[in-house]
Symmetry: C2
Subunit: 116 residues, 2 copies
Amino acid sequence: MTYAKTVAFTAGQQQLARVAKALAHPARVAIIQLLASKQSCISGDIAAELPLARTTVTQHLQELKAVGLIRGEIDGLTVCYCLNTALLQQVQQQFAAFFGEATAGAPCAPGDACAC
Amino acid sequence: MTYAKTVAFTAGQQQLARVAKALAHPARVAIIQLLASKQSCISGDIAAELPLARTTVTQHLQELKAVGLIRGEIDGLTVCYCLNTALLQQVQQQFAAFFGEATAGAPCAPGDACAC
DNA sequence: ATACTATGTCGTATGTTTGCGACATAGTAG
DNA sequence: CTACTATGTCGCAAACATACGACATAGTAT
């Protein structure tokens, strides 16, 4: 992303945007859900469950790992991915606060003349 | 986005990803927050409050409008943007459910041997 | 050792996003 | 009507993202 003046956005806004970007692709949403549903933190089985090439899935996994939402541990030949519940909980708070703030105002239905 | 086989992702995953993408840029997060904080739904003042060119801000506004998170009404010379609280509330539920699912599992701390 | 399996990294083609100036449109005002 | 203001649309350049095959690495197994 090439923001002209990244400085001007708050850390909170940037963090929220970063996480949102990580979830901005159905494959990544699916991966998180998969990891959440399987009790065991599967590895490359993930690739088998998605409609994408193995390498593409690896890339998505790397991206999720870069943001910190998941963690991967090598176990012999296979690699074990699991959710970073700590970060997820923190992010959950962040989103809750954001949406709470956003949904607090008046409804402003279409045709309202929008009390400006 | 060029998914090879878009079909294979659920509607829920795609909807969540679409909204996440809308929030995947600090400027757009900032816009939502701005609209939430000002009681009046300001118009091009938004552009003045952000560290971006006016046209760029317009573009971000269009994107948010395309996803449906905000709505714009023409009021003479100015345009009035306001939050679509109905959609926001719905999306809030969606994210809450998603994160709830994701944070439900075991912590899986690093070094856990990751019970696979 | 040799063959095999699970993963990841690279390079690349194609498409998308971002940021912005130039230009078009549409009200307002004198 | 003419000048001015507020917005939006276009087109473009540069940066990213997506998807994937070819290749590298590193354990396992025989």
